[in-house]
């Protein structure tokens, strides 16, 4: 009988476990690591809660901004982009003169239609729409001029037409209504870009917060890591509990962020909805995305893993027995 077989029979060579056992053991080490990491976090609840809250606040900020911006975008989308020129007439122009000029203007080929809004009608409309009723009541006389609303035949010619009309001495001011909408559009785009950049920076912040927390966790378990490495624990084995720690922090942070977002919308939602209604937009209540909490938890989990990976790959290698 060969020496090898004698040894096997005696059980001297059998330190390697079977493949099936190894798979099962791998799973159970995952389970144990997850439970152990969670247990460690729960063992010092205040510290863990503060870390999760810090992550939650940093995550909630871009979420709220993005959501608010989205609401605003939808709201402003409801406003039509009428290519319309509002001609504010001078005080000296009477209602009759204005109406007469309206006929003239409508006859021009560049003009499709002209509506007349008398200063009294304008006041009524403004009072209803603006919410400045109290202020207006306090005024002794109507500050508004007569208004001619000129719809150009082709919207490309609107700017040109405006310039022409502005030269007329009866006109105090001519406003191209699409201009401010375009500007608003630009502002919204800028806002969206700001939210993206800010969001990216804040997410990086989350990864760094976690990386640092994990660095401390690793440092506090230095002895244990050394022992595990000495008896042959692989990098993956040593890494595992710390990855779970990062994961739990991330999940906790995501949960906090979700609750914060819900709370913020509960606080400012009603007021914002009222404001939106005032501007003639939709009246459905403003609120957070229904999936906000699950999304944020998922995001937190991913960031938690990323932060842990960062810390672990930087610091575990430094801990070598010697």
């Amino acid at each position: 009988m060969s020496r090898e077989r004698v040894l096997r029979r005696d059980g001297a060579i059998s330190s390697r476990a079977g493949l099936l056992d190894r798979g099962r053991a791998w799973l159970s080490h995952h389970r144990d690591s997850a439970a152990d990491s969670l247990g460690r976090l729960l063992a010092r609840p205040l510290g863990s809660l503060l870390t999760c809250l810090a992550i939650g606040i940093v995550l909630a900020l871009p979420a709220v901004l993005a959501q608010a911006l989205e609401e605003f975008r939808q709201l402003s989308g409801d406003w039509q982009a009428p290519d319309r020129i509002s001609l504010f007439l001078r005080e000296s122009v009477s209602e009759e003169a204005a109406l007469a000029w309206r006929e003239e203007l409508e006859a021009l080929p560049a003009v499709a239609r002209v509506d007349f809004l008398s200063r009294d009608d304008a006041l009524v409309e403004f009072r209803e729409l603006s919410g400045f009723a109290d202020v207006l009541d306090g005024l002794e006389q109507n500050p508004l001029p007569h208004l001619l609303l000129v719809a150009p035949a082709a919207s490309e010619q609107a700017a040109q037409l405006r310039a022409r009309l502005l030269r007329d001495e009866r006109v105090a001011e001519a406003v191209l209504d699409s201009a401010w909408l375009a500007r608003l559009q630009q502002l919204t785009d800028l806002g969206r870009r700001v939210v993206w950049v800010l969001g990216g920076l804040l997410l990086l912040g989350v990864v760094l917060i976690l990386g640092n927390t994990l660095r401390l966790a690793i440092e506090s378990r230095r002895e244990e890591i050394l022992v595990v490495k000495l008896v042959g624990g692989s990098d993956a084995f040593v890494r595992r509990p710390f990855l779970y720690t990062g994961l739990w922090y991330g999940v906790g942070g995501g949960l906090c962020a979700g609750l914060l977002v819900v709370a913020v919308f509960a606080l400012v939602g009603p007021a914002a909805t009222e404001l939106a209604a005032l501007y003639g937009a939709r009246s459905s209540p403003l609120g957070p995305e229904p999936m906000a909490i699950p999304y944020l938890v998922l995001l937190g989990a991913l960031l938690g893993l990323a932060g842990a990976w960062l810390a672990v790959s930087r610091h575990l290698g430094e801990i070598e027995p010697s």
Binding site: D10, S15, A17, D21, A25, V227, L230, G232, G233
Partner: protein, 221 residues
């Protein structure tokens, strides 16, 4: 099983801890390593388990040149070797059972197998009744025996022990040595560093003697 060819080791600061050491240990041998304090015994063992790399020379374990074992190969190499450390190296916040089970958990054995083997190993070192105790509540000798149980529980092919009986009384020391001899009889290569000359000269095994990092004797019993 373990071969040293003109191995020297110099730590970053200081003189050579080992110089030009050459020897060979056969698979079924039990060999003692002795020498004064600071002679280089621990250093020699650390080279075998790749806690250190030699400055010069070649170390071969089970036919494999250790210079070829990279960082990623180290854990696997260590899993083949059971080590009793001079300073125990136990997990202080885990109980005796968990400490001894560690190599089996790492190797991926299932729960029942782990329980069975850990208790068998603890039984061999006389610590079965203390399996739930934390290391801090154990005496130094008891901690050493936990380390011994952990070294043998994975049934390694090579067993290294650094002063395994340093804190044990003579009767217990003799018992532990018998345990090592039993492993040697089933084909495990055993290398024990010890300066308990009275104990090791009674057991008839080869003795490697180091003096100031040089091998001055590798005679038989």
């Amino acid at each position: 099983m373990i071969t040293f060819e003109r191995v020297s080791k110099r730590y970053a600061e200081g003189r050579d801890a080992l110089s030009e050491v050459s020897f060979e240990i056969r698979p079924d041998e039990l060999v003692f390593l002795t020498g004064h304090s600071g002679a280089g015994k621990s250093t020699l063992l650390r080279l075998i388990m790749l806690m250190e790399r030699p400055t010069r020379g070649r170390v071969t374990v089970d036919g494999r040149d250790l210079a070829r074992v990279g960082r990623r190969g180290i854990p696997r190499h260590r899993r083949d070797i059971g080590v009793v450390f001079q300073n125990h190296q136990l997990l202080m916040d885990r109980n005796v059972f968990h400490n001894v089970a560690l190599p089996l958990v790492i190797a991926g054995h299932d729960h029942r197998e782990i329980g069975r083997r850990v208790r068998a190993a603890l039984d061999k070192v006389g610590l079965l009744p203390r399996e739930r105790a934390l290391p801090v509540s154990l005496s130094s000798g008891e901690q050493q025996r936990v380390g011994i149980a952990r070294a043998v529980v994975g049934r390694p092919r090579i067993l290294l022990a650094d002063e395994p009986t340093g804190n044990l009384d003579p009767a217990l020391s003799a018992e532990i040595m018998q345990l090592f001899e039993a492993f040697s009889r089933v084909g495990v290569t055993v290398l024990i560093a010890s300066h308990d000359l009275t104990l090791i000269s009674r057991l008839h095994h080869r003795i490697l003697t180091l003096r100031e990092g040089r091998l001055v004797g590798s005679g038989g019993p």
